[in-house]
């Protein structure tokens, strides 16, 4: 009885282990030579790939402590619901919202009989206290609406409304240039995304949502973010300033709300804060992201790990 139970247990264990690790190769090497016929056709990986060296274990470890959250909680700002009267209506919103926003005139102290020389510091502190950011609780839905607006289309509509004095015209010319360039980058973007989509359709024709993201798809996203990331290189120990962000995306690939910073503890110095801001800026600037719609479940929440060490040759 005992023996049979033990044998049974051992066999079960072996089977489980095999399930987990896969079958070891017991065969002779000769047989392996057989499948030479296989035609390898790697086409659709993006032209430029810059996959970082794999860091095997680390990642799983890191992820565990962070339970999944569907959406990044807004930075602890409890009074949020109050000032946001109507969450849905998009366009007309800005105007009324601006009204409460202007900060109360920053203490219009007349500064009586001051020294002849400037003494900016003291007032500076006061001015700083002006509660500008607070009255404006980051209008979440608006961000999403403003962003996607294809830059190109909006411009021409606006122009006619403007008065045409000479200065404006040259300014507009200037913008044209800029637009063109931005259009160009947009085009390359779409090209890239198309290639990404191609991969999807060919490799997972059935739109199998359980399939993980392919290397090309991940790479395309990585490139899109990297293109917009301006690294604060001048900071002391710039190479050590890593930043981790969790972003939530809607099905169009637009960033929902603000990226959430994943870090323990406060910023130890200004440089850490500035590195974080540079990463947030990159993420917000480069949306909407081109991702395979079929795999939305896989990318609705993404953790981005900004790590400039490689750039500094480390």
């Amino acid at each position: 009885m005992k023996v049979s139970a033990l044998i049974s247990a051992a066999i079960h264990l072996v089977i489980m282990i095999l399930m987990y690790t896969g079958l070891p190769l017991f065969r002779d090497p000769e047989i392996l030579e057989q499948p030479r016929v296989i035609q390898v056709d790697i086409v659709d990986i993006a032209d430029v790939t810059n996959l970082p060296k794999p860091k095997p274990e680390e990642k799983l470890e890191e992820k565990k402590p962070e339970p999944e959250k569907p959406k990044p909680a807004p930075k602890p700002e409890p009074p949020k619901p109050a000032p946001k009267p109507v969450p849905e209506p998009p366009k007309p919103a800005p105007k009324p919202e601006l009204e409460p926003a202007p900060k109360p005139e920053p203490v219009p102290e007349p500064k009586p009989a001051p020294k002849p020389k400037p003494e900016p510091k003291p007032e500076v502190a006061e001015a700083k206290d002006v509660p500008i950011p607070k009255p404006r609780p980051r209008p979440r839905p608006k961000v999403a609406e403003v962003k996607p607006e294809p830059k190109l289309k909006k411009e021409p509509e606006k122009k006619p409304e403007k008065k045409f004095d000479l200065n404006q015209i040259s300014a507009l010319l200037d913008k044209k240039k800029r637009e063109q360039s931005s259009r160009k980058t947009n085009e390359t973007d779409t090209k890239k995304s198309q290639s990404a989509e191609k991969v999807t359709s060919s490799s997972s024709a059935g739109a199998d949502t359980s399939l993980p993201m392919s290397i090309s798809e991940i790479d395309a996203l990585r490139q899109q973010v990297q293109k917009c990331w301006i690294v604060p290189t001048g900071s002391a120990n710039a190479e050590g300033l890593t930043v981790k962000l969790r972003i939530s995306l809607n099905k169009e690939g637009e960033v929902l709300g603000q990226p959430k910073v994943i870090r323990s503890g406060k910023y130890r110095n200004n440089f850490e804060k500035i590195a974080t801001e540079s990463a947030v800026r990159a993420v917000l600037r480069c949306g909407p992201y081109k991702l395979p719609a079929a795999k939305y479940d896989r990318w609705k929440s993404i953790v981005l790990n900004f790590d400039p060490r490689e750039m500094f040759g480390q």
Binding site: H12, E68, P120, E155, F306, M311
Partner: protein, 452 residues
Amino acid sequence: MMAVGLRVAAGLKQVALLMVAIFLITGVARAELVIDITQGNIKPLPIAISDFAGKSEATAIVGQKIADVVRADLERSGLFKIIDKRAFLQQISDIQTIPVFSNWRKINAQALTNGIVTALPDGRIEVQFRLWDVFSEQYLTGHKLSTQPTNWRRLGHKVADYIYERLTGESGYFDTRVVYVSESGPASRRVKRLAIMDQDGARHQFLTDGSNLVLTPRFSPSQQVITYLSYFNNRPRVYLLDIDTGQQEVLGEFPGMTFAPRFSPSGNQVVMSMAENGNSDIYLMDLRTRAVKRLTSHPGIDTGPSFSPDGKQITFESDRGGRQQLYIMNVDGSNQKRISFGRGNYGTPVWSPRGDLIAFTKLTGGKFSIGVMRTDGSQERILTEGFHNEGPSWAPNGRVLVFFRQIPGKNKNEQDKVRLWSIDLTGYNEREIITPRDGSDPAWSPLIPDGR
């Protein structure tokens, strides 16, 4: 027997459960995509600086000029790209309204500054400005400053300092000045005068008339006093000069020639070299008691002393090892040790205001370069190399260096050009500081205190 079997079975069940749990956990973990972003861009941050508004025509003009100073400062730092104001879709005239960020995103601005200039009843002008993050739509910083109308350039520099600090994490350096030796005339009869100017080359003025040869001017921490070497009456001596009053004073009665002076971080001491019978050593003088202390006594030539920012150590150059190399010692002269071991000669060491680096001039293979190394001599890095680069001096934030560069004339009839240049600690962004004539021996001032 039975019981044992059951227990084993129960144990197995636990094992199985554990394995299932492991599968689940790894499964869950796999659900969230983690992407490493390892490559970014090293390029200037695009920033829009709108003309500062003004209620009257006069203040509006000042507002424009101040904005121009801010733009020029930030652009020169190499860390910002200034967006042409003609591209702006919105003119912000009211400091109290929040900008329409989408207008600024369209022109690719990542940061935005707007401001307003007001004339105060007492005749002074006041500037208020705000800095915004265009993409995250956040207010970053804002200040209110006031001064005499003639001082408007400094308002611009101060605003630029605040913006620089908020966006780079380092303190700014725009509200500073540079003192240097202005040179003119043929090589045989070179006229050298002390001159001072804003860090951007504006408000240039001469401090001495050129009748005596002057060298190596250095600021005191208070900015009010300069110490330098003058050949007055053909006796090279270290002098003090009060910038505001023009008053000069010899520093101590030494038997030999004194040179290469520099203030301590507290401003209460001056460290310098004295040469006697062909030997130079380093001396420290207390400005309050005028007491002098000898720090080195070595047959070699010890010179070029410079304090660490904490005032506890001094770096200097010495040829005691056979070649000119860099050394450090404690402020009392103890614990002298060599830190540079590279090929060639090293000179003019200057301790960074951040404390972590020492900048120097290096002569090797017939070329003069400007470089930096850690204070233990490790991680030497050359920033710029050429025919003749010399005499680095740190901006107060330890991020930028100013030095002078001699460019040989193209033929025998053309004189060499000697000009002031600045360079970023990364080795990028070399810029000439435009001076009316040739210039050498620059020294960057500390940040100007707010009250002045």
